[in-house]
Point group: C2
């Protein structure tokens, strides 16, 4: 319509439903093949697109199969961080339990993986390595296909293809670039670039994710979760050694083994960013997440590490928490074990100097998680500055970097004036801020959020769209208090909400500098940010 000059480009921007934009990015089924395929179960659409592959019920076996060149679907009752490698290796993820904010769904969106979750009809038998549904039994290695846009599960193999937009931006196809879909997408994104005040960053933990996000137009990284770097390959061994260590010295020895891996990751990320800023969050999750919880895996680890299995069981027991969300995690780890923050600082700064020497600009922004007290931040900022000085001296380099914090517990927002004395930026961790402000666990809310939406207690899922009255109020308090202390403070958001159009518009209205979201949500966020700007202009016009 814009082409025909019936409407101007600003109106065009407003008319595209931002929430549906990611569907044109997702891979699709071959239409003909799909028509003759049979739906065997329905679940929740948790990661858009189409995927097909051989079913595996275990992350390790999924990885092994993928390494042999198989296309793989990971099928689980539910996923946990231990399944991460399997999720990375898989074309798509299918779970029998969990909602749209379950671990599987969140990680899938983060990775841009196709995902169907909570397909309750699936009966998974881990011991027999089979999945039964509606009388039919599937063995590991059998083909399944899933449509994560519609939440459908199919028997058998249905051919898929990348969307034309992905073919152009990620795969570099020139042919697809000529397609109308891509041309329309490009025009829309160009308009967004003209209109937007807020910048759009991405949540990315690997060079690959970063490159994708940049291709989609991300202006940098808003959240790099460093813990995801500890699960791959042999890294988890060193991490476990660190957790099982009895003394600071032994922890330092283990951490020294992790340092080169982490540094390599940062080098890759800084290169992919080509000068764009990278907000790097220090270790956040509770340590027990890195240890195996099942007997067999514990025995294997004991053998590998040459320690009695009782020692591992004992440490897992010690680290057990009643409410891990509110436990020994975030900056509490870096404060009690400052050697962890030291290692992470060193990895960042060594990587930064190395990339800078190649002539590539680097802008690391180190983010301390879960701060509720200014003193917490001060203690971590001291570590970061000390290590930065050491590395700059060793390498004879000069680095520009920022240190800031996540605002993700209410006390952080309420004392933002104090915290801003030490924080050069705030990033709202709205996942946890929602959990703490509402006293509502994301992972456990499935049992009552359904009735709550039916009874209209909540209008939208507060983990998908920011609860503006409650959580939003705290964000506004933090913005006002932060800016009072430090008028030029950088303000961002890195929760899942950063990819939700309503939430993006709210972030614009309260004056944030940027939003950050999963790579495949970047175009959605760019459109929503542009819409917010256009709406603001329109509202001003209407006032006059």
């Amino acid at each position: 319509m814009e082409k025909e000059k019936l409407i101007d480009w600003e109106t065009a921007i407003r008319r595209v439903p931002a929430d549906q934009l990611d569907q044109v990015l997702a891979p699709v089924f071959d239409r003909k093949a799909q028509a003759s395929a049979k739906i065997i179960a329905k679940g929740l659409p948790a990661g858009p697109g189409a995927a097909t592959g051989r079913m595996y019920l275990n992350a390790d076996r999924a990885v092994q199969a993928a390494e042999k060149g198989e296309k793989v679907l990971l099928v689980r009752n539910e996923t946990s961080p231990e399944d991460l490698r399997g999720m990375i290796a898989a074309e798509g993820i299918l779970t029998a339990k969990g909602g749209v904010s379950s671990h599987a769904a969140l990680v899938a969106r983060q990775m841009g993986k196709v995902c169907v979750c909570g397909a309750a009809a699936l009966q998974i038998d881990y011991a027999a390595k089979t999945m039964t549904v509606d009388g039919a039994t599937f063995k590991e290695g059998d083909f399944l296909s899933i449509n994560g846009t519609a939440g459908e599960v199919y028997a058998g193999q249905i051919p898929t293809a990348a969307s034309e937009i992905v073919q152009v931006l990620i795969e570099g196809s020139l042919d697809a670039g000529k397609s109308q879909t891509y041309q329309n997408f490009k025009k829309l994104m160009d308009w967004c670039g003209k209109a937007t005040r807020m910048s759009v960053r991405t949540n990315a933990d690997t060079p690959e994710q970063t490159a994708h996000a940049v291709a989609f137009g991300a202006n940098g990284i808003g959240l790099c979760r460093t813990e995801h770097m500890f699960f791959e390959g042999n890294r988890i061994d060193a991490m476990r050694e660190m957790i099982l260590a009895d003394s600071k010295e032994d922890r330092q020895i283990a951490l020294a083994k992790i340092l080169p891996y982490q540094r390599e990751d940062f080098i890759g990320i800084f290169k992919a960013l080509a000068g764009r800023p990278a907000t790097i969050r220090f270790l956040d999750p509770p340590l027990h997440e890195f240890l195996p919880h099942e007997g067999v895996a514990q025995s294997e680890l004991a053998k590998k590490m040459g320690v009695p299995v009782e020692e591992i069981k004992q440490r897992v027991k010690e680290l057990h928490e009643f409410n891990p969300m509110l436990g020994f995690r975030g900056c509490r780890l870096g404060i009690v074990y400052s050697e962890i923050s030291e290692m992470q600082s060193r990895a960042v700064f060594e990587a930064a100097t190395e990339v800078q020497k190649l002539g590539v600009k680097v802008s690391p922004e180190i983010m301390i998680p879960l701060v509720g007290f200014k003193k917490e931040l001060d203690l971590q900022v001291d570590v970061v500055h000390r290590v930065a000085k050491e590395v700059m001296k060793e390498k004879g380099a000069k680095l520009n970097y920022l240190v800031g914090t996540m605002i993700e517990v209410p006390r952080g927002a309420l004392t933002a004036d104090e915290i801003a004395e030490s924080a050069e930026f705030f990033s709202f961790g709205t996942n946890d801020l929602t959990q703490t402000t509402l006293g509502m666990s994301r992972d456990d809310s499935g049992s009552f959020l359904g009735p709550y939406q039916e009874l209209e207690i909540v209008k939208k899922n507060p983990f998908a769209t920011i609860d503006q009255t409650g959580v939003g109020q705290l964000m506004e308090v933090a913005v006002a208090k932060g800016q009072k202390t430090r008028p030029d403070i950088k303000l961002g958001i890195c929760g899942e909400h950063g990819g939700d159009p309503d939430s993006v518009k709210f972030c614009h209205r309260i004056g944030l500098t940027y939003v950050s979201c999963s790579p495949f949500r970047v175009p959605v966020a760019r459109l929503a940010a542009a819409q917010a700007m256009v709406e603001e202009k329109q509202a001003k016009k209407n006032k006059k």
Copy 2:
């Protein structure tokens, strides 16, 4: 000194350290016997006073022994709600793990039980039914003695006696009434009565606790936790039946069995209060707390209920939560299963009409827990009013009652203006408000609160003394917003902080109507409340 007219009574009030007042209420060891006794371990002083008895390592066996007339000490690695009956039956509680805010410590203070916790030197062998410490092994049935004021554990039996004050107020001894200690105490409490603006209520779940608190000068109940009523005797069976029920009808059948027990409890409590107000909190904890988690107990329950044990295991699994503090609990239960709130309303109002007919005034104040959204409260208020009308019609009676809410999640405080439209009172649940505002689990904070205090991140344990900057700020927001909507709104506090002198004074300064605390902390709170008033007067004088 006051007697000698060297200082006036207001100065006298200010000079008594409120925090130490509960020590003169606690039972004491016979001095001579104690001198020759041997300390075998040290732990944390978690419930003041002296206790002696035969050691039992299991709640059931402790109860059985107590029923046979034995004086019993319950000794555990740590306690959980399943140990409650054993804790009630015991003279004192001794744990090898946990801090001053562990389950054992909190319940002990609530009950006024002597408690030593975290005596790490104790090695408990549940299977062998022995406790080993420093080379010596004690069997179940052996005598131990503990001093909960000093945190000491002794081998053998040391005779104890109630403090003189308790002898007078609880046991009705006339002799002890002549003692100087009692006379001084009485004079101090009389002065407090003159000075105080805030009233002091108690947290009490039984008629006995209520009577004790009234004897200590409580002006009513600020928190009656109805779930504690479900653990005794056969009640837990009906509760478990309710939880395992598949349909609303089956839940109602099970709830009908609980109704008479709950009504009897309320009758006893209303009688003991003799017209004083009673804030009754509806069911709050997650349902899994009522089911057994160990195989043997699950099998026993299955046999008792005539259901397959798999069904019980399945339900326990379904109810498992990653973060139960933030899960399916509080008003979420009463909203999803409104029949629970119906039964509880009926029990309250039937008891109220019955006691009222005896010529005793009743003032029930029904408190809906964990409210974060006005609509949550509205839905529960509807149930309460409907049942109240029904009961009044059935009994031909007229009842005065209030319905209000706990403010215990940040969103409740932030939207207090909306919530006050439906709430006739607020009671600050500062235990949970602290956990959510700080993003810090009370039960899990042991791993970092130590270093946090050493590093001066927190000056005092925020679960013992209100964090005025963060949690206190939210309380002030809620007071201001609540009063804006409803100028005469009743404002109280029912967290553990209600018995902490610094916190009591803070509550006075922000204008609360009352504080509420454990029965044995009532004199402490009364003194702190009087000190707050005297300090306020003094400050005003100094200004002039």
